[in-house]
Amino acid sequence: MNGIVQFLWLIPVLPLLAAGIIAVNKQPQRRLAATLAIGSMALGFLLSLGAFSATLAPHEGAGPFRAVDGFNWIQFGGPDHWLQLGWVLDPLTAIMLVMVTFVGLLIFIFSVGYMAQDQNFMRFFCFLALFAAGMLGVVIANNLFLFFVSWEIVGLTSYLLIGFWFHKPSAAAAAKKAFITTRIGDLGLLLGMVWLYAQTGTLNFYDHGKGCLEAGACMQMATQVTLGGLAVSTMIGLLIFLGAVGKSGQVPLHVWLPDAMEGPTPVSALIHAATMVAAGVFLVARVYPLMAAGAPPLETGVPVTTALTVVTWVGAITAIFAASIAVAQYDIKRILAYSTVSQLGFMMIGIGVGGVAVGMFHLITHAFFKALLFLGSGSVIHGCHEEQDVRKMGGLRKYMPVTFVVYAIGMLALAGFPLFFSGFWSKDEILHHAHNWSGSPIPFYLGCAAALLTAFYMTRQVALVFYGKYRGGAGDHAPAHAHAEAPAHGRQPSAHDHDLDPDHNHGHGHGTPHESPAVMTVPLMILAAFAILLGFIGTPAWPWFDGYLTGEAASFDLGKLFTSGTVFVLLLSSVIAFTGLTLGWILYGQRQRQNAGEKDVLEAAQPTLFKLLHNKYYIDEIYELTVIRFNAFAAWLCDFLDQWIFGGAVLLVSYAAIGGAWVCRRTDEYLINGGFDAACALLRELGGGSSKLHTGRVQTYLRVIGVALVLLILFLIWGRKA
């Protein structure tokens, strides 16, 4: 049974190998790079299917299928202190493996077409392969250390890929922003990791009973109480959740994700829709036993602990927040980015209220239709000659019929159109569990509002892009090379804009938009199919997905659909979906916008609110003011201290030393030498004088002796008397 586990490590290593070979390669063989990357992903996909089938097969032992393998890597400290690296195969891993490899494969194929004209084709595919390796490493890791290493590789590759067109200052700034914000999150993850190791003595999740996520360790940690009355497990869970917040772009650390759209569209699709952002949610799912440790006895089947409540609340806030901003955006990719953030919020709510299965189901479905939407927008931009502002598009139905159909399916799945689309089922699960959540009803209401807004801005986007008449190519073609990239910053086209950017050199081709080639549309169709079919594996009637994850068998029973709780939520969510769609159509579908410069409908209605939302609640500006300013001030303070206080002190000491030396020299030279010279001179004089005494005449000596004798006698006599 665990045969496949032994080769599980092959899945991340293959793309890693491919990335290595591509990187080492000197000549730009595009064909070699593409085949290598796609080949490694295909092999990975096959292996993942193998692993998936292994988990499906009946196995002994209760609970979900779990097989662990690993090896000792570094010995540190005593003989038994080993840093182990290991990988685990359980349902969670299997699903993620299949999803990541399949979506990755499709996006690789799509990006072959998309990046055809780019000079750095090689470098692009090297980074993509590296990213895949990192992502797969995260998925299979059974050891928090291996997990953290791969997590960092993923962060690195996201930086590289966002800043792929590094000659564009905005891209470079965005990459840096992404990297730093995720780093802040990772700090929490690192602290959590260290604390976990300190508590349990091992970083392995599952280690035949000794792992840190196993019952023994969790209970032990749950009982210990740290400062503030929180259990240790809660604290560690929250710290790890901080990592997830950073990576998945939850509220405080979400600022980097919209800017990450600077990267090429496949990148956005792969990283900022399907996989990487999902890694945060996967992390929470993986660490769920830790977070759920110490929960009161399960009466509603879903443990409620402080950690999970925090996750839920963060998720809820992010969902409503991001959704509201998305409504007021003009850039096609930016709208999708905010929708991703909002959907990630939904996943967090799912895990918080419903446990791992609910969150993961929405993650899987979202991965497919969000990838679909991003690739669709990619082919739209490709078609409109790198035009990203929805106000300059319109009426693309006629020009890109395939893209329109596929995009529409993706939009309906995202909006949660009832019954047929996966989005509906997964979002329904979340809302259902949120409704039954014993914590508080507010997340449920926020969830509903967010769902409404989602449906509204998606229809707005589709209406603006595909309906009405084509507004691009005429209006503001001001400067010859102006390529309207990311209008949000009002960026001035940099003078040295060389023609690396593929969207650019395509612009002045022929004026009218055109359909994308087959290599781009085929993956779209496959994704669209999955966007529809995936929903059925997790419906309340046949909760296969839930059973698969928890290990029990799932029976097909339409009756469950009509139990009181589920029916109410089903109906509610479909009502929400419909209201969102109709609102969107009314505002944007019927009253088509005439030209690019026209004011938006909402803007006309609520100019201040619209402006607020358009500028992302001025979060960037707030950060700019607070964190950056503080940082600058700290830097300035350190510089000041270093220069004046410490520098001054050093200067003072040196001056003191020099002064001391000078004083020593002076005293030495004048006082001591002078003194000795004078003494020597005196002695010489004395010597000279006394030498005169020795005349050599013996008689004088005798006379002196005589006198001395006299003096001696007198002294003796008088001495005695006195």
Partner: protein, 103 residues
């Protein structure tokens, strides 16, 4: 004037003559003679004190004189050989001329 003071006076006189000779006479040998006289004066003094002293039986002064005589003889021998050596070296034993301190 008990005999002791007489003897002491005699030895003082003898010492004075010896000293005068040693200090004023020009000839080297006479200086030595003067020294011999002074030594004799000292011996006389010793014997006087021994004779009139409180413990004559202790014989200290007596023995002291014997030793001083022996040493005086040795000193005279060496002194005279020095004078002879100087004479041979500088062909004069006139102390005023024998002033060369160099070796």
């Amino acid at each position: 004037m008990n005999p002791l003071t007489i003897c002491l006076l005699i030895s003082a006189l003898l010492f004075a003559t010896g000293f005068a000779g040693a200090v004023t006479r020009r000839h080297a040998i006479l200086v030595l003679v003067g020294i011999e006289l002074m030594l004799n004066a000292a011996n006389l003094n010793l014997i006087a004190f021994w004779r009139f002293g409180p413990h004559p039986e202790a014989l200290t002064g007596f023995i002291f004189v014997l030793f001083s005589m022996a040493l005086a003889a040795a000193e005279a021998a060496v002194g005279l050989s020095l004078v002879i050596a100087i004479y041979r070296h500088q062909q004069t034993s006139n102390l005023d001329e024998v002033r060369e301190l160099k070796g």
